[in-house]
Amino acid sequence: MDGRRFDADARRRAAGARLIGVDEAGRGPLAGPVVVAAVALPEEPSAQLRKARDSKLMTPEDRQRLFGVIRSQALAVAVAWAHPSLIDRDNILAATLSAMGRCARRAAARAGGGSVLVLVDGPREIRNFELPQRTIIDGDAKSLSIAAASIIAKVVRDRWMERLDRVHPGYGFGQHKGYGTASHLAALDRLGPCRIHRFSYEPVINRAMELAK
């Protein structure tokens, strides 16, 4: 089933509610924020919009192109993030879910009210959340709305990491985007953690302790 038909089916079952796809980018990296996006697509998405796929399966060029298409054709787009200090305080899951709640509400308001159904990628519901929601495992592969959200989140996060690379040079944030690649770990060994590293992540903790001795 393609993503558009999945959404049409979900909408039918929710009595025609407006769908809001929600997905996240950057739960795994050792540094930088987790970025969350919420997207409400038109009921009849254009042929261009239908090209949206799980952002991880697209080339950077295709993601950039779709990013522009989604931004101009979606009924509503919202982005929220959780910074490393929040991730360190609450843990990554709670920080991600609360950001999802914030941006889903924002997208629902921008989409102009009416009944909505929030489609959340993954196995877990947003906590303390008053809008109707449905969790979808592998949602970015199944639902066009979630795929669109995954593209927005990924592109926004990647661009942000490229900026952070200029603020915190030497780690290569522009290349690996904060993920624990060999070059990132080598830079951590050499330079120690900086202020955007996640101090609740094992590789960062271990290197921080090593350097503090």
């Binding site: 200090s85 305080r89 120690g192 953690p193 101090f199 903790i205 302790m209 350097l211 503090a212 001795k213």
Partner: protein, 116 residues
Amino acid sequence: MTRLETGQNAEALAAAFLQAKGMTIIEKNFRAKVGEIDIIAKDQDEVIFVEVRARASRDFGGAAASVGGAKRRKLIRAARLWLQARNWDGACRFDVVAVDGGKLEHLPAAFDASAR
């Protein structure tokens, strides 16, 4: 792991965290008769006295903020002593860093010296 080791690990992690935030560690485990300060650091023109709380456990954020009255007074007295010894008359503040398992929370200016 003994309690002391836990505390020392927490302090090492807190110190590394503050350094990553751009602060300079001046001294660790400053002990005076009146009290003890885990970390003394400098953030630009401000001296920071840092209390490290290991195992803040259940009410993570809450426990971090709740460095109690007696503990505060001890910290403040020790800080006064340190400031006098160094002849420092610039700005200073008291931060709390809570470390629990993998989690970490930094509370800048968690309390001030008006508690006496």
